[in-house]
């Protein structure tokens, strides 16, 4: 039988939920109740047959798999627009999971500081929920989440839960609020003074638009968090997901295989990274 690393497996959309004006949450069911077997931070190549394929990070935690996984997708290109037009019961193609995710075991016994910006929450949510499901293995859990506008905040229900939990320090900010918002207003870096950080024992995890990285990194490094304890998840164009097509190359690194999760130490001298 012919097999190819480029052939997607067809799987069913179990649920589609509108999250914001441009983002939807897709729950994907695997045949026979199988689990995807992913690590937080990995991605899948998603096919809409006839339109094409795009890399999408997995937003659900492996600890909550149950025969399904979730993708939080912004409608921005051909594939994602086509995906947004699909309904529960429709079939999409999946290849993966691919890449290196977050090394969760290295975070055991540490304070874990999450700093997602905007859609950067999608890949980080996988790790956040895994950490919360194994809460006893970690010291403090700090979440500093920023979005441009109130209606762009993702996973509102879970944000409320995290804010309410006593064992999670969750702070949320929006660049611009409105009369219904009595929370923090300002860019994500304005949240850093809200929390005290013990830099030696902190692992920081961040994901967001390229411009955000520069400012968040300045904060994290300024706090004295070691470069080997700062993790970033990077976005690149990808066609194969398996280190061949060349699109995702960041200097000598392949985002799809060496990443998409990198430590700051790995990429700090790599000019094309940020």
């Amino acid at each position: 039988m012919t097999t190819s690393i480029y052939t997607p497996e067809m799987v069913r959309l179990a649920n589609v939920e509108q999250m914001t004006a441009v983002e939807k949450l897709f729950t994907i069911e695997l045949p026979d109740g199988c689990n995807l077997g992913h690590d937080p931070g990995q991605f899948v190549m998603v096919s809409v047959l006839g339109i094409g394929e795009a890399p999408i990070s997995i937003t659900s935690s492996p600890s909550r798999s149950n025969g399904t996984f979730e993708l939080c997708v912004r409608r921005v290109g051909d594939v994602t627009n086509a995906l947004h037009a699909m309904l529960p019961g429709d079939m999409v193609g999946i290849r993966g999971p691919f890449g290196h995710g977050f090394p969760i075991k290295k975070m055991h016994g540490k304070d874990v500081l999450f700093a997602p910006g905007g859609l950067g929450l999608a890949p980080l949510r996988s790790l956040i929920n895994q950490v919360l499901d194994e809460r006893g293995s970690f010291e403090r859990v700090i979440i500093l989440y920023g979005a441009k506008r109130l209606n762009e905040l993702l996973f509102r229900d879970e944000l409320d839960e995290w804010v309410a939990r006593h064992d999670v320090e969750c702070h949320i900010t929006v660049d611009r609020g409105d009369e219904t918002w009595d929370g923090h207003v300002g860019v994500i870096t304005t949240l850093f003074p809200e929390v005290s950080i013990n830099p030696r024992n902190t692992v920081a995890v961040t994901c967001g638009p390229p411009i955000m990285y520069r400012f968040v990194l300045m904060e994290l490094l300024g706090k004295g968090i070691p470069e080997t304890q700062i993790y970033l998840s990077l976005e690149r164009r990808m066609k194969c997901g398996v280190g061949k097509c060349g699109h995702c190359q960041i200097n000598n690194l392949y985002c799809c295989q060496d990443g998409p999760v990198f430590t700051y130490a790995q990429i700090k001298g790599v000019e094309e990274a940020l």
């Binding site: 190819s4 052939t7 006839g50 066609k239 194969c240 061949k244 097509c245 094309e272």
Partner: protein
């Protein structure tokens, strides 16, 4: 395995016999140049070619190939397709032979690529020793690709009235015994072969001003070299250099659907890091926007990145990118400029 002698008069019958059972691909005239193409009539074969427009890579990784067929109706379904058949690739020069060996690594490492590997498995390579430089652009001698000890099934060296045939594999042995008539080489033949081989080296010149083995280290200090801006100013970002490169393998994957939007095919097609959209994500961010950065990426891949990943340099000195560049960008001049200013 062994050395045989194939009279030149026996080449046409051999090629003719091969065409019955194989797709035979070899160099032939294309206008004033040469190109690899299907050989229907042995008279088309031009083993006296200097270089081809596209490298023989195109036989193993076609410019466009089907990866799968699919249907969108009912239960959507994808069926992988591997487009290949028994092929004899004739007249491959040693620079291109080195390039194919690199591609073999690229497509077998980590995630084996069945499309390339199956085609490779079904391809018998008959290579050809270069006795004269192609033209002023090649720099194979500098890149260590002016000869090859492996990577072929049969290797031909022109001895005048006959070819010396180095039989390197069982596949090559079978091909020769089944389709051709070649004699065991005599001591005289072997002496003649050694004469021909040693006589060729002085005809080729070193064009790199330093040892190619220094390239990775040299380039690691050249990231901010002014050369990139200069090349960026001249480059038209047409992608010709990567298209004609025997070691460039980057590709795009895309779908085509029929008019009813029901049946379709997934293809892969050569892509180029020199094109504007190559590193652009859907959100609009382009991670290698400047042409200078794209030229730098090409040089770095050829002289450093590919070496770091696969243990071999990504440039075999064939000179095709130099010949084809409308802006006269020369990778060998570039390497020399960096070395000169280091």
């Amino acid at each position: 395995m062994s050395l045989r002698i194939l009279d030149k008069g026996m080449l046409a019958p051999l090629v003719n016999a091969l065409t019955a059972d194989y797709q035979v691909v070899g160099p032939q005239a294309k206008g004033p140049k040469f190109a690899f193409g299907p050989i229907i009539d042995p008279a088309q074969l031009r083993l006296d070619y200097n270089t081809t427009i596209l490298p023989p890579k195109k036989v193993l990784q076609p410019p466009q190939e089907r990866l799968a067929t699919f249907t969108r109706q009912g239960e959507p379904h994808v069926e992988p397709v591997i487009e290949t058949g028994p092929t004899v690739l004739l007249g491959v020069h040693t620079c291109d032979l080195h390039a194919i060996q690199l591609l073999d690594k690229v497509f077998s490492q980590d995630y084996p690529d069945a499309h390339y590997l199956e085609r490779r498995r079904q391809t018998i390579i008959v290579s050809l020793e270069c006795l004269e430089p192609c033209d002023e652009h090649s720099f194979c001698k500098s890149m260590g690709t002016l000869s090859a000890g492996e990577g072929y099934d049969l290797h031909l060296t022109d001895l005048g009235p006959a070819y010396a045939v180095d039989v390197a594999t069982e596949k090559g042995e079978q091909l020769l015994s089944r389709y051709g008539t070649a004699n065991e080489a005599t001591d005289t033949d072997i002496r003649r072969l050694n004469e021909v081989l040693s006589a060729k080296w002085p005809r080729f010149t070193y064009r790199l001003n330093f040892d190619a083995a220094e390239l990775p280290a040299l380039l690691s200090t050249a990231y901010d070299h002014p050369l990139w801006d200069e090349l960026g100013e001249r480059c038209f970002a047409c992608g010709s250099c990567t298209n004609v490169c025997p070691t460039c393998y980057c590709f795009n994957i895309f779908d085509e659907v029929n008019m009813a939007l029901i049946e379709g095919e997934r293809y892969r097609r050569w892509d180029s890091c020199q094109l504007d959209e190559f590193a652009r994500v859907a959100g609009g961010e382009n991670f290698r926007q400047a042409r200078s950065a794209r030229q730098r990426h090409r040089f770095m891949r050829k002289g450093k990145y590919i070496y770091e990943k696969f243990g071999e340099l990504g440039c075999v000195g064939c000179g095709r990118c130099i010949r084809t560049c409308v802006a006269n960008i020369s990778i060998v001049d570039g390497f020399n400029a960096i070395h000169g200013s280091a």
